[in-house]
């Protein structure tokens, strides 16, 4: 099938402003957007810049805005887009470094701000091995362990577009992962961080994050659970 692609281009050292470049190619509808981008870079324009790594929806490098919606380029097939004309842009709300590559530092700063690691100062169990928990306790935060930090959620969030100080859905999801972990002792600290104006209260439940998540994490629900924990003081 014949496809027409409109790709966002911006080279800050050469271009005064961004522009769109048009490409045309033949591809199989079962190919992924990433395959098409690789084909363009290999055959038509070697200067096209985009991130990719594993190419199998695990590393989270290639989140981009495809026909107005955030996807991982390696997970979306051309036929899923139901269109012969495809517009590809960088994810919104972060500074464009070049073409489809954005500066992820502000995103990772928000991630780091919620202490996304196990906090437990108790001595290790007598056998010196792992801290055990029941399958039910593990199940409680299973959904939020799936995050691959691709930023598709945070950069689809209108509150984040309006104000980059908002920690964003991805940071809250990763806080949720530890807040609800029965082995962790840092929930109070994280909830205190998220109980600020730029914490969970910036969420207006637009559900864009849940729609954008390539891992199908129930993000809006996770944010609501954090809000509930702040109000009730209970982690259940």
């Amino acid at each position: 099938m014949h496809y027409k692609l409109k790709i966002f281009r911006f080279h800050p050292e050469q271009d005064a402003r961004p522009h769109y470049q048009h490409f045309e190619l033949d591809a199989d509808p079962t190919e992924r957007v990433l395959d098409v981008l690789e084909q363009i870079r290999g055959e038509q324009d070697g200067t096209l810049a985009f991130r990719r790594s594993c190419a199998h929806g695990v590393c989270g490098s290639d989140a981009m805005r495809i026909n107005g919606r955030n996807y991982l380029a390696c997970k979306v097939l051309l036929r899923d887009l139901n269109a012969a004309e495809i517009t590809i842009e960088p994810i919104l709300g972060l500074r464009v470094v070049k073409d489809l590559i954005v500066d992820m530092e502000p995103f990772f700063d928000h991630y780091k701000s919620v202490l996304p690691y196990l906090i437990n100062d108790d001595p290790l169990p007598a056998d010196g091995r792992e801290r055990l928990q029941s399958p039910e306790d593990r199940e409680r935060f299973d959904d939020t362990t799936k995050c691959i930090l691709c930023a598709a959620c945070t950069t689809s969030c209108p509150s984040f577009w309006a104000n980059g100080e908002y920690v964003g859905p991805a940071a809250i999801v990763n806080a949720h992962r530890f807040i609800y972990d029965s082995r962790d002792q840092g929930a109070e600290k994280r909830l205190e961080i998220l109980n600020e104006q730029m914490g969970v209260w910036r969420c207006r439940t637009a559900f864009n994050c849940t729609e954008a998540c390539p891992r199908e994490i129930k993000i809006t629900q996770a944010i609501a659970e954090v809000k509930r924990a702040i109000h009730t003081g209970k982690l259940e």
Binding site: S134, L191, N195, E196, W201, K234, L235
Partner: protein, 132 residues
């Protein structure tokens, strides 16, 4: 049968301005549903905006129940609206000084209108209508 071994933990999460404001928006919204609908149906449909004059207001406020109703509407609707405006404007004001000015500005705006409203509600209509 396997027993559930889900751990339920308690954490201390002191309330702050933002968490209270968030709760306030939800609870006031519940109250606004009957208050605003009642107000709109009565004033705009049953009575009609063209039939409202000082005489109508005097008649209405002769009943203390309506004064309480309007008082609740003023207290909840206006505070709900101003806090909503604060949230929206915070999307556009990124500097702490700007936010401080915004918060105080909106607070003074809210207080002034609310005080004027309550003075009117408590004082009632003390003039003859039509006006002499």
């Amino acid at each position: 049968m396997t027993a559930t071994t889900r751990t339920i933990r308690s954490v201390k999460t002191p309330a702050n301005y933002e968490s209270i404001a968030w709760k306030w928006m939800r609870y006031s919204a519940f109250l606004l549903i009957p208050l605003v609908w009642g107000h709109l149906i009565l004033q705009d449909v049953v009575v009609g905006v063209h039939n409202m004059d000082l005489g109508y207001v005097a008649d209405r406020w002769a009943n203390v129940g309506w004064r309480i109703y309007d008082g609740l509407l003023l207290a909840f609707a206006f505070a709900h609206g101003v806090n909503g405006l604060r949230q929206v404007l915070n999307d556009f004001i990124h500097k702490p000084t700007g936010r401080l000015i915004l918060n105080w500005g909106l607070f003074i705006f809210w207080l002034s209108i609310t005080v004027i409203g309550f003075i009117a509600l408590i004082g009632g209509v003390n003039q003859q209508f039509p006006l002499q």
